[in-house]
Subunit: 618 residues, 2 copies
Amino acid sequence: MEELNQKALFLGPKTENSRFFKDMLKWMIDDHISWRDNFHPDDKPTISRAEKQKSDFKATLQRTAEALVELACTLQQNSVPWFSPRYLGHMTSDTLMAATLGYILTILYNPNNVAYEASPATTAMEIEVGKQLARLLGYTTERSWGHITSGGTVANYEGFWVARNLKSIPYAIKAVMPELVENMDDWQLANLPPHRILDLVDRVKEAGSMDRVLRYSARGTGVQAGTLGKVLVPQSKHYSWVKAADVLGTGQENLVFIDVKDNYRMDIDHLKKTIDGLASQKIPVLAVVAVVGTTEEGAVDEVHRIVELRKTYEKQGISFYLHIDAAYGGYCRSIFLDEDGGFMDYDVLKQSLREHNILHPDIDWPKQDVYDAFRAMPEADSITIDPHKMGYIPYACGAVVFKDKRILDLISYFAAYVFEKTEDNPLLLGSYIMEGSKAGAIVAATWMAHRVLPLNITGYGKIMGCSIEGAQRFYRALRAAIPLELKQKNYIVYPLTEPDFNMVDFAFNEASNTDLEAMNELNQKIYELCSYKSGPVYYHRFIASKTDLSYEEYGDAPKTFVANFDIPEKEWDRVRSVFVLRSCVLTPYLVGNTTFEEYWNHFMKTMWKNLLNVLENS
Amino acid sequence: MEELNQKALFLGPKTENSRFFKDMLKWMIDDHISWRDNFHPDDKPTISRAEKQKSDFKATLQRTAEALVELACTLQQNSVPWFSPRYLGHMTSDTLMAATLGYILTILYNPNNVAYEASPATTAMEIEVGKQLARLLGYTTERSWGHITSGGTVANYEGFWVARNLKSIPYAIKAVMPELVENMDDWQLANLPPHRILDLVDRVKEAGSMDRVLRYSARGTGVQAGTLGKVLVPQSKHYSWVKAADVLGTGQENLVFIDVKDNYRMDIDHLKKTIDGLASQKIPVLAVVAVVGTTEEGAVDEVHRIVELRKTYEKQGISFYLHIDAAYGGYCRSIFLDEDGGFMDYDVLKQSLREHNILHPDIDWPKQDVYDAFRAMPEADSITIDPHKMGYIPYACGAVVFKDKRILDLISYFAAYVFEKTEDNPLLLGSYIMEGSKAGAIVAATWMAHRVLPLNITGYGKIMGCSIEGAQRFYRALRAAIPLELKQKNYIVYPLTEPDFNMVDFAFNEASNTDLEAMNELNQKIYELCSYKSGPVYYHRFIASKTDLSYEEYGDAPKTFVANFDIPEKEWDRVRSVFVLRSCVLTPYLVGNTTFEEYWNHFMKTMWKNLLNVLENS
């Protein structure tokens, strides 16, 4: 098979592939129409030709047409041009034609993946997609379990739900089958490693006592907050974790935030200190959450070190559930996999990246620690991964994958044997997941994308490469940027950190300014000129997002960045917050010297104009 | 404005409106393409003509095309023809063209309603749709709060979440501002009516102590299962309520199932007895859930009697949160509203139904108690309502509406004033709801449908009428059906109950058979011939769903139905389960004598053939 040409995957910034897109769309609708028409061809039409001539009939059609025109106008006025390389804001970009077309076609059939009966085609696709994602994340497809969710938030909830119920099982076993946990005290029960708990569940099932054990687990008795221990999340966590602690009933006071370092990765030393501190008070750790691709900085936590830490602790009788929130970074793992799905050695990877022209030879990515983090992912008990982020699938499509499908016994509404009996086609998917009804269309969209782009270096790896290269180029250009001169003042720009993945945060400052508040104000104003805040973004030359890095959320981690601007440390201690522009470089187009140069020049010119605008209006 | 012609709203069983649909689709895509092309017209294309001629470019396009063909084949083979009046199974039907087209158009722009910045157009639409639904349900739009969810399950979770956190607030106030609840003991705190708790919250906010109170509420401290009391749901509840008790951490053992009567409505006497019993043990009631449109029977609980009961109890110092699960029946309320949105008096309604030709004059619907139930809905504290059910919107689209928007303070991630400041456009919708990322496209679909069909008698009421009339006709035809004669045997058929709304359950039996197991087996086999179980449903003449009414779930409620078949009572006591075929009559086409007769004849012929098939293979 010929290598993928990533330019043939998207409709394109200038709708370069519009003819193909329209041809497919036309074919699809005709195909669907013939499906309807051929269903019992002898059934009479329900609408006569005479009826269609009636004025109320025509007026009703007209109502739909007019509403559609209104919708189209509203969308044109108030939508964000994700498709353009001028958009470097949130985790959005053009979407894959395969996904968009598959989504649209399937809406016409409107399957509901809550039950097999309502989605014979797309339930099977969801199971297949679940297995593909499991393979991507390094899990054994036979032992794991993955499925689509409505987004990363719900996927995180589901991971939290499983962790919570799993951790309550040893106590339930003690109540129902004490012989299985003989001689274990509460501390030992609280620190059983996840796989050992699942082994005990097997024995409970063999003894036919599963229903009783479940009744004594968190599911049956509810949560007695505090007893299951603390959930440790990095300061850089997505806010859904704070919501999760509320929703799942464990309580926000049982969340502990672990410091991040100045590269915005979890501080593993602080994690260790925290666990030690809790252990000394006999407070268990329910779960640790690592982030692969933080929402605000794109940082990749050192998963390998957390995994090592857990192994060390297990020797001391301490264990916890490990979830990875890779909603953002998960698909990036495809770049590390060879065409047989194997995780490549570091040197082989580097060579493959060159051989397949995935990254420009000048770009040194990944660093060893990012590589190690991705390699260690399959050690986690569950992982969140969002197709609607780096899968280039339209909204809304998240996913969660569990290492060991035996966890289904802890959360499914029916006894899991119902599922086992029918193997690949669960009759009521809604009873094994947190949600209920679910669009088969979005599942088909993901299935289509995975069909066109295998989850390996020459499939998705190709677009990951474009994205990473774009981010690296942007980062380097920002580092090397000559100060912008306006009205006898020089404006400098610095990026926050070298991107672990594809996000670049940055800020401007007037070269002689040492007032952090003034600098924040400047960047706030620039942001406003690059966002919906200054009118329809359609008319903007460059669009970014922003974030506030405050002491409250990040401790002193942003200090290093602020120091780049020659702003005295005491300013940070006074203001304790730095406002930065945030660019997720998802666009696959910022590659090649010519295109990058073109858009970089647009960017610098726009920034110059924006600074002028700020100056003149201040 | 001319009255709506409901035949002009759907693509149609024989794609009668295909020309219109295709014209709109073509217009839409061209409109979107021009939007992309006109964004910075001077930006160069990213793909050259030469590039497009490359073989890898062509091969990549081909990959998408081939995947699409594969998807189309799979869908055609394994999809369910919801669009046909031959499909009378689950709560599915053809979807509104307005909704489908709006959905498709918006996918091209791909907004994400998690944040205003990612969806300037569709966040505003979501707020508007929320208000429309609030109005439909009888709430004051200024005081209420509603939004789209990914489905009814999540909407139910959110109602449960609010109820749980609300009920924990009085204890939190006691800890932080005891002066507000002076002289109240735990029983009184547990029994404060929802609106009184929210009044106290206002005073807490005025005192600037809200953050502290939240920290002491379930959100902060987590759940201490059991302390907040029991959640009372009817036996006929959707299984998401059982999942909710697990997810929300209150525990399944704190759910109490209230009996249903032989019309499958909650037994209000049993509800009363249960509350009395709990009160005598000083166990509070966290919430009561009523169902408007049960999943298996379409029954409408007597909401008005539950509301009365709560009023009576409040005089005795007992109160609870009231949620209505109207995922299925909610949109039906539109038939009760006049064109100004007022809830019509019973006589006026009856007259309007005739005047606007909503129902055939022979059809006596609604019965007084169904009317009263719909009338009383706005007394509830929150309501689940699914656009993807009776809103005729594609999947996945649920919604939840709260009577009093002050509840936002209990669940939102940020202090609610952020929302108040920006009024109609919350900057981060994801921080006020349970979910995060959400497709703006499905919101636009709902907005479009509401634009074309106002939520009143002459808008949605028209299609509700078609659906209700179809169900009534089907019910009556089943009651009046002459036994089918096959091989010297007579097969009789009975419907389960007169439909409160639009669902008809029914079963067959051989006239002389008095063995309930044999009858169940017969209906199971008929079901298999009417479902995916006997091969692709595309080739079936009639498609139904099914349900098992067992003692375990329903107590003795099904006894009356079984007695219709002259099956002795002791058979019920032995078998304790009756298998019925289940038809949700969502199709808007089973109206008019000719069309109904045509499909009724198809149905009876198909059943005759199915019975023959069963007989010959047994």
